[in-house]
Symmetry: C2
Subunit: 304 residues, 2 copies
């Protein structure tokens, strides 16, 4: 096996280490797409020739180079009503960081139930966590609105944010992050539903992007955008080749069965139905919480 | 609100109910993309004008039409070492079926830990489930190989399969489904790793696709492909507009930060590293299980 890898490497070198991007001609046809320099390739060839499980860390270092930051602790907030994909996309991607502890951090002790009813056992609670290198705040529906009015949670987020390298939100998690005041003046993204109204309420600048970086603040559009954002964060820390490895592991070459996923790629009937459904769930809750504290905007949905 | 929707509808009708596909010009610019006939649009306009929470089911029926099947019970298999995204992608998508019970079904009582270490509380165990309309078998890593040798599990799958409308697998879950014999002679997909070898071992025909339908058997490529497959199943049952609604809910208009996600879109260095890693985890386990039963192929990885 080692020898055949070495031969393949030498073949690639003989081809002049071209930065060739190849077309996708079928799932199983492997063609070289490589950006490593000839010198590094030769160095790597020697490493590979002598590869053992014991020296795999040095091989990894050669392949990926030095990370931008020394990340040790990653925390993903969870709560009753959190969206399981907002959580699990980033959990799966960020959990592949090298030598890192990734935890699901709950508002209170006990299991949580996601927006679709999946019961999950969190690793710890916010009161037990004082420092994180990366904090991700996922969204959801009613539980997210309640969290956007939870001043105790906001205080914890602001405390943790003081020493994070990355503070991020997925989907309507941006409503929670926005409510802390940390997005003021920052370009940001959130779920499509009432997107501009919510961002402006919190003083953020709508970026109209799949995911947005403004300094250490990363915010994504709805649900599945959290996966794209998490991959971009991994690329930022560990480089393109590391992101490539995670994407291969999760075979992330998406092909949705139909075009869709944004209001403008969706017919008006479905847009109307989804906005009506969200309105029916969100508006009464916001009305009742507004009576306690005027923290979230109650706007009329776009296009109506 | 009702009036403005009606006005919008009439405007669309006035435009001749064109099946216009619009370009994505930015996340918040809503333009009509609609395929409803003029007659149905007028009927819907009247429904919308009289829309109340009480009659929302009849409005939904008008929007989506009659489902292909009356789906009541969906089950997703879980086990220690299952890949959480293999589970949660389909769980989130299929869980949005109308009036359906969607359960995580475990091999044995107690919580399970996913391949990345997330603890989940299953809804029930295989011994308590005798019928499902849809069965999904997710993949993983070592736990998946063990399940591919678990004859008790295979018996349960074959029993459930007798009355399913859809039997599906995600990623290496195809190894488990294949081991039951149900994929014999069927076109199928699975994770990229040793894909052809595993499919051929189980008598399946490698389809080389993101996800594959052969009769009622649906099989997908690795991890994230399960989400695409689940959306395609929902489209098959409830129609395109329903899939559109779920995709809008999960803002599924993916934009990975880099090209990748398949061996041919990945550089050789990362391909080599990932295959080596998988080999190191998979081969010794297969060796030891082969001693008990010759049920899974131990092949040399492609390209080495």
């Amino acid at each position: 096996m080692k020898n055949s890898v070495l031969l393949l490497l030498l073949a690639v070198l003989a081809l002049g280490c071209q930065n060739s991007k190849t077309e996708n001609t079928g799932k199983n046809t492997v063609a070289p797409k490589e950006t490593m320099s000839a010198a590094d390739s030769l160095k790597l060839a020697k490493e590979i020739e002598n590869f053992t499980p014991e020296n795999h860390v040095s091989t990894m270092n050669l392949i990926f180079g030095k990370p931008k930051y020394d990340i040790k602790n990653i925390g993903i907030l969870v709560y009753d009503g959190v969206n399981e994909l907002d959580v699990m996309g980033p959990r799966y991607v960020l959990g592949q960081a090298m030598g890192v502890k990734t935890r699901l951090i709950s508002l209170k002790p006990g299991n949580i139930k996601t927006v679709m009813g999946v019961e999950i056992v969190p690793n710890t609670v916010i009161d037990s966590v004082n420092q994180l290198d990366i904090l991700i705040i996922p969204g959801g529906f009613k539980g997210t609105i309640e969290a956007a009015y939870d001043t105790r949670l906001h205080e914890w987020i602001r405390k943790i944010d003081q020493t994070t390298k990355y503070t991020g939100s997925v989907c309507t998690g941006g409503w929670i992050l926005g409510a802390t005041g940390l997005l003021k003046g920052k370009r940001a993204s959130t779920n499509w539903y009432k997107e501009e109204a919510f961002l402006k309420k919190y003083g953020a600048v709508p970026a109209n992007e799949r995911y947005t970086q403004d300094g250490k603040y990363w915010t994504s559009a709805g649900v599945t955008a959290g996966m794209d954002m998490a991959l971009a964060i991994m690329k930022d820390i560990y480089g393109e080749r590391y992101a490539e490895a995670i994407m291969l592991d999760m075979e992330y070459d998406p092909h949705p069965p139909i075009e869709g996923g944004t209001p403008e790629k969706t017919g008006w009937v479905v847009n109307w139905m989804m906005e009506s459904m969200y309105d029916a769930g969100v508006n009464p809750l916001i009305d009742s919480l507004e009576k306690v504290k005027n923290a979230i905007p109650k706007t009329t949905p776009k296009n109506q």
